[in-house]
């Protein structure tokens, strides 16, 4: 069993999303430790990108703050190495394809394997383009995370069957689509579960309107991104403590 799958096997997990280098890497490091100490089962570390085309404004702004602070890809890889001396919490990188590709796909993914990164999710890498990074992920033992969305429809079976680590279920569709598609996050999770036994993790900006307890019932974990990133924005270097408290509150819900 992969470390990711094992970490989520009890379900009801809250998974913090932390932008690396916002406002600096020391804060990122401390935030990961605080999150773990307060009950996070896994952390997602966002590698900042200049043009995060799919992210909400609050996450975009966090990416830009991190880049203005001068964070480099190589420093982020070193950070994980450093973290591995202190914690064994599963770490998944969230990146855009150009960051990985530009570093050198094999160089980046081998460095992930060496540093102890457990999984890699690439936002702009759909099933059809997986071969760009999958061979290296397999070679260096990094789970390449897949995603499905309510708009995925008949794509769900093939994506879910081939998914590893956990399956991202993206909730990011607008009001109009939700009405027309008559499909939401719950239906998507249910369909995906027919084709895979790996954990299903829900994520997306539209989640903030939904009941978080209900979400943890239907899925194995919920990504908490905007709420964490807002704390990075508001508290800066003092954010780790706030993030820890927040995770603790969420975990106490059940």
């Amino acid at each position: 069993m992969s470390k990711i799958k094992a970490a989520l096997k009890n379900g009801k997990a809250y998974i913090p999303f932390i932008t690396c280098g916002d406002p600096d890497l020391e804060t990122t490091e401390a935030a990961v430790i605080e999150a773990e100490n307060n009950g996070a089962a896994l952390v997602i570390l966002g590698i900042p990108f200049s043009d995060p085309t799919a992210e909400a404004p609050v996450i975009q702004a966090s990416n830009i703050r991190a880049l203005r602070g001068g964070v480099k890809t190589a420093d982020i890889l070193s950070l994980v190495k450093k973290l591995r001396a202190k914690t064994s919490i599963p770490i998944v990188f969230f990146a855009y394809a150009n960051v990985v590709f530009s570093y050198g796909s094999e160089k980046f993914i081998s460095a992930c394997g060496e540093a102890g990164v457990d999984g890699l999710f690439v936002e702009d890498l759909p099933f059809e383009e997986k071969e760009e990074f999958l061979p290296f992920c397999q070679k260096y033992g990094v789970d390449l995370i897949s995603a499905v969305a309510p708009t995925s429809g008949d794509r769900i079976p093939v994506i879910a069957e081939n998914a590893e680590g956990f399956l991202f279920v993206s909730a990011d569709i607008g009001e109009t689509d939700r009405k027309i598609l008559h499909s939401g996050i719950e239906e998507t999770v249910c369909t995906a579960r027919k084709y895979t036994d790996i954990p299903c993790v829900v994520a997306g900006q539209s989640l903030s309107n939904m009941n978080s307890e209900r979400l943890t019932e239907i899925s194995d974990g919920v990504v908490v991104d905007s709420a964490i990133v807002e704390r990075l924005e508001s508290y800066g270097k003092n954010a780790p403590k706030e993030i820890g408290l927040f995770i603790k509150e969420l975990s106490a819900l059940h």
Binding site: S50, T53, A97, N98, S102, P126, E132, G174
Partner: protein, 396 residues
């Protein structure tokens, strides 16, 4: 040129979030169905000819030819199309396709505003709702086009993220589409983005080279020796090149925006200064830093101010079939003034990049050579900005 996965050599592909995949698959299926549908093609020809004013003229620029003293120069007058640029070709095709697909809403990105105006025009004509995303910076540079779009019934959304220019408008349109694919078609304005856009846009723009070929054979009884067009994303250039790709004797020359020069950071010349990357749904060349962060590019021309280039151009560059040169702001402004004075034609500042290269190339060629320059758009929209560039204090 396209293989089934939407690749041009190593370039192209579909690097987009899963949320958008079914939208592009649906688009590809619809396009494959309608592109060979006689009724669709009849309706599109009807729109091209009776609404947009096609075929556009191939005009012998006699004074320019004599003045430069070399190759014979023809201008492909896309500036004479309805809405004043080549953008209408693609937009009429995509709007008709969207309507056939049952979509009721068009969204688009725009740089200079030409594609936005064209999209708003087609939406008005076909009774579709229209929302155009435009970098805040560009809404200031091209205020008149913002008003035009609103006059045509479109909503213009100023984009403030990133550098607030064309690339950010593309990002915002993609984000909007990901959240609303059921009733919305993203009418992408150039030969870029994920497959099938580079192919669809090329096919609709290829009417340019189809006409040039026919008109040239009628006028001169032979093919031209060179075809020159400006390249941002590259839609008018690929449209001008496409039917000549198999004709090895025809030089294909794309003119990128060098801004203040390719040795400065204030440039948008992707093939000259960029490197291979993955962005906005495609693998191609991009201006970026060593960590893959997309560079804030610059050109006097809002329409060429984009950090990437269409994947088919990247491929034509790789295989050496097309040449790409970089033209500075200064050279483009000189060409803008030159064509206005010499032929009484005010070209768009984008198109002026192609004219600037022809001014350098024509005198080096023998008089029996023929070059065609695509004048992709008219320059009325640029007059105030060029006047200011020359230090005149005028505002629209």
């Amino acid at each position: 040129m396209t293989n089934p996965n939407g690749r041009f050599g190593i370039h192209g592909g579909q690097y987009i979030p899963e949320t958008l995949m079914n939208a592009v698959i649906e688009l590809e299926e619809a396009y494959n169905h309608y592109k060979n549908d006689p009724e669709f093609n009849r309706e599109l020809s009807e729109l091209f000819n009776n609404y947009a004013g096609r075929p556009s003229r191939l005009y012998y620029a006699e004074k320019m030819t004599k003045d430069l003293g070399g190759a014979k120069i023809y201008l492909k007058r896309e500036d004479l199309n309805h809405t004043g640029a080549h953008k209408i070709n693609n937009v009429l095709g995509q709007a008709l396709l969207a309507k056939k697909m049952g979509k009721t809403r068009l969204i688009a990105e725009t740089g200079a505003g030409q594609h936005g105006v064209a999209t708003a025009t087609a939406a008005a004509l076909m009774g579709l709702e229209c929302v155009v995303f435009m970098g805040k910076e560009d809404t200031i540079r091209q205020a008149l086009n913002v008003y035009r779009m609103r006059l045509l019934g479109a909503t213009v959304v100023p984009v403030t993220s990133g550098t607030a220019t064309l690339k950010d408008a593309v990002s915002e349109a993609m984000r909007e589409w990901a959240g609303r694919i059921s009733d919305t078609h993203y009418c992408l304005g150039s030969v870029m983005g994920p497959h099938p856009f580079p192919t669809i846009v090329r096919d609709f723009q290829s009417v340019i080279s189809k006409e040039i070929k026919k008109q040239m054979l009628e006028k001169e009884g032979r093919l031209p020796d060179a075809v020159i067009a400006c390249v941002g994303g590259g839609s008018n250039a690929i449209g001008s090149f496409y039917h000549f790709i198999g004709d090895e004797s025809v030089r294909l020359i794309g003119c990128e925006a060098a801004g203040r020069g390719i040795d400065t950071f204030e440039t948008a010349a992707t093939i000259s200064t960029g490197r291979l990357g993955i962005f906005h749904g495609m693998k191609s060349y991009f201006c970026q830093d060593e960590d893959g962060q997309i560079a804030p590019v610059y050109s006097i021309s809002a329409g060429l101010d984009y950090p990437g280039v269409g994947p088919e151009h990247a491929h034509l560059h790789d295989i050496g079939r097309a040449e790409y040169v970089a033209i500075t702001d200064d050279e483009a402004v000189n060409a803008f003034e030159y064509l206005s004075r010499t032929e009484g034609i005010i070209p768009a500042i984008e198109s002026s990049h192609a004219i600037a290269h022809a001014i350098k190339l024509a005198p080096q060629l023998e008089k029996d050579k023929i070059i065609v320059i695509t004048v992709s758009g008219r320059g009325d929209k640029d007059c105030a900005a060029i006047a200011r560039y020359r230090g005149e204090d005028i505002y629209e």
